[in-house]
């Protein structure tokens, strides 16, 4: 990591129980112009089981959901269920920093194009993003999402041998059971409850339930 990102330094907080990586990411163009961006990477206490979080330390960019930076400067690199963090990867931190580099380059491209549209793929904001993710697992079939949503929310618990709630007449275990389990496993019951059962989260979830 030091070889590829020499401007970053490990630090600990005064209490000594949290670790940070701080310093400059310097992005360069073909024409030789360098843009230094001050970054802080925070490591959770459960690191490396849980992934680190990167922040715009000097507020180089104005935070907004459209550019995937939260109000505290945190970079939303990916939808949590889609995290590329692999705790057992020996070069996991280098890969993470490369992801940050690409994210920063996308920020600069976003600015260069007049902040009109985010370059590259993105999920919608908030609960809509998770809905999009779930639709992705369900091959984009909104009807299936609608009919399986009570099971995803945990409001119903279809038996594996009963007909699938999607209406296919196939047994649930041969139809959508695994995909529903994958959604629950990757998104997490707590997050699903928060997003779709919390009346403050989104109106759409309320309409669905």
């Amino acid at each position: 990591m030091a070889e590829h990102y020499p401007n970053l330094t490990f630090r600990t907080d005064p209490a000594g129980d949290r670790m940070f990586l701080e310093g400059l990411f310097v992005l360069k163009t073909d024409c030789g112009v360098s843009t230094p961006i001050s970054i802080r990477v925070e490591f959770p206490t459960s690191y490396p089981d849980a992934e680190p979080t990167a922040y715009d330390a000097a507020k180089h960019f104005r935070p907004s959901v459209d550019r995937h930076i939260l109000s505290d400067g945190q970079f939303c690199l990916w939808l949590p269920p889609c995290s590329l963090w692999k705790k057992d990867d020996p070069v996991r931190l280098l890969r993470f920093l490369d992801e940050v580099t690409v994210f920063l380059e996308r920020q600069l491209v976003y600015d260069a194009t007049g902040a009109q549209s985010w370059p590259g793929p993105q999920y919608k904001h908030g609960a809509d993003g998770y809905t999009e993710f779930m639709l992705g697992i369900l091959d984009g079939n909104e009807g299936h999402l609608s009919s399986l949503f009570p099971a995803i929310l945990g409001k119903t618990h279809p038996s594996r041998n009963e007909p699938c709630p999607c209406g296919s007449q196939q047994k649930y275990k041969r139809c959508h059971a695994e995909r529903v389990e994958a959604i629950i496993r990757r998104v997490g019951r707590n997050r699903i409850s928060f997003l779709y059962l919390n009346p403050l989260a989104t109106g759409r979830a309320s309409a669905k339930t």
Binding site: L27, C76, E105, H125
Partner: protein, 516 residues
């Protein structure tokens, strides 16, 4: 062909290191400015700056049919400028300084007698008067096959810094300060001769009586427009100031020049390779499809006026020479264009290759414009923090252009003339620092990603990009990059993201970003 930050940075640094000690002193006695002035020997000169243009020449150079008609236009332009130069510079006539011709537009300076505002102002307006008479009554009848030409003039008086650029064999007088700038600004392009309030106030009552006060709504200032002047009154004023201009002698010289340079000896052609401007002349002209680019240092006039007022003229000139040299390097070395002229703090460039390839020419002009912005914003302001309030205003247009070198032996001007040249200059003059302005017929040749960076301004009927530097242009072209894997390369403490895999690069598939 491209701009590079490190190259530009090192060039500007080298320019600054090679600049000698600049001296700026008030001009207190008569001098031959061509010999006296240099890059480092500069003078604060009180004088009247006069511009007189014949706007018709641009149309003629663009629209005239090939063959004899076009050769006639070239002949007319050459003999016009030869005679006007004699009128301006003749010791017995106006005894002024011919700064240069910008196309068909004369820039002249009167500074003698030293600090004598009345006589200097009088010479300035009398020159305008004489040239109008000359064109209407002497020149036009000698070229009956051309449409009647008319003149447009502007004059201002005050202090301006005189200096010179430093290129061997190519040294041009440069004047920086309000009067040099304003005299050109008040030109209308129509049949009118104008003077600023400063000139008018310096004139004797007998000459003031020929002027009508008007409001220029474009500039929001009061200017004075010259009425028709009876020729006998003009002659009386010329005699009063010892200006021995003889219309009959002018006519004879015109006839002699036409005989010396008959139509059948005037050649023009397209250009297969980069034009050698110094090889051009009345018998060797170029008619090419070309893009003109004007890059002006916005805010410089106010900056140098202020600097001189605080006895800091040398610092301002150091900034000017660094910027000027870098502009020339960009045009010539980075984009293989022609640096036609410096006009004060403005560079005029021309791009005509590949021959008749309008798309490539347009792209090269815009790339040059972006490079000029890049050097100003990213290099000049870093190396010269005192330039922080300056900007680069760029305008461009493309069309048929006559390229030549005109004048008398020993003092010839490189000229480009045509509607596209006029349009580019007008577009630049209407632009603010940080802007690149282009017409739709240049915009349509750009790639889609670059097109999107230019916004249509319906008031000015141009596309404008603001603060567009090379790094932004490159990034704008990367908008579609992140749909597939990209490659991160680290080197010397920095990282690059590109679509190309290179040795040591690391592949990253861009994730679908999200904001919770």
């Amino acid at each position: 062909m491209s701009w590079n930050y490190d190259t530009s940075f090192n060039r500007v640094k080298a320019h600054l290191e090679s600049l000698g000690e600049i001296e700026v002193e008030k001009l207190v006695r008569d001098a031959d400015l061509q010999s006296l002035l240099s890059e480092t020997c500069c003078r604060d000169i009180f004088g009247a700056h006069v511009y007189v243009d014949v706007p018709n020449f641009a149309d003629l150079a663009t629209l005239s049919a090939e063959g004899e008609e076009y050769r006639r236009v070239i002949q007319a332009l050459h003999v016009y400028e030869r005679e006007v130069a004699r009128i301006v510079e003749g010791q017995d006539i106006f005894d002024g300084v011919r700064v240069h011709f910008q196309g068909s537009k004369l820039h002249a300076l009167f500074f003698r007698p030293i600090d004598n505002a009345e006589e200097i102002a009088a010479r300035a307006v009398l020159l305008q008067m004489v040239l109008r008479y000359f064109v209407c009554n002497i020149f036009n009848p000698e070229f009956p096959k051309l449409p009647n030409l008319s003149v447009s003039g502007g004059a201002d008086i005050g202090n301006a810094i005189g200096t010179k650029n430093g290129h061997r064999g190519d040294r041009e007088l440069l004047f920086l300060g309000t009067p040099a700038n304003y005299a050109a600004k008040i030109l209308t392009g129509a049949d009118s001769l104008r003077a600023t309030t400063a000139i008018y106030d310096a004139l004797p009552g007998s000459l003031q009586s020929y002027f009508t006060e008007i409001q220029d709504s474009r500039l929001n200032v009061t200017v004075y427009e010259m009425d028709a002047v009876p020729v006998d009154e003009m002659d009386a004023h010329l005699k009063e100031y010892g200006i021995a201009w003889d219309p009959d002698a002018s006519l004879q010289r015109l006839k002699d020049d036409k005989a010396t340079f008959p139509l059948n000896q005037i050649e023009y052609s397209d250009a297969e390779v980069l034009i050698d401007l110094d090889s051009l002349g009345i018998t060797n002209n170029k008619r090419v499809l070309a893009a003109s680019v004007f890059g002006d240092v916005s805010g410089f006039t106010a900056y140098i006026d202020n600097a001189v007022g605080q006895n800091n003229g040398m610092d301002a000139l150091r900034v000017l020479h660094a910027i000027r040299k870098e502009m020339a390097s960009i045009v010539k070395h980075d984009f293989s264009g022609l640096r036609v002229q410096f006009q004060g703090d403005r560079v005029q460039a021309l791009f005509h290759l590949p021959k008749r390839d309008e798309t490539s020419i347009a792209i090269r002009a815009v790339d040059t414009a972006i490079a000029l912005q890049s050097s100003m914003e990213l290099v000049i302001k870093t190396l010269l923090p005192e330039a922080k309030d300056l900007g680069m205003a760029v305008g461009s247009s493309i069309g048929t252009t006559l390229v030549s070198k005109l004048g008398t032996h020993g003092h010839r001007d490189r000229i480009c003339i045509g509607d596209a040249v006029e349009d580019a200059a007008t577009i630049q003059e209407g632009s603010a620092g940080g802007e690149i302005a282009i017409p739709s017929h240049i915009h349509e040749h750009l790639d889609e990603d670059l097109q999107k960076l230019f916004i249509w301004n319906k008031d000015r009927s141009v596309y404008i990009a603001t603060n567009l530097t090379q790094d932004k242009a490159e990034r704008a072209r990367k908008a579609g990059l992140f749909k597939q894997a990209v490659y991160v390369t680290s080197s010397a403490g920095s990282s690059k993201v590109s679509s190309q895999q290179t040795a040591g690069s690391r592949s990253v598939v861009p994730s679908s970003s999200f904001a919770g």
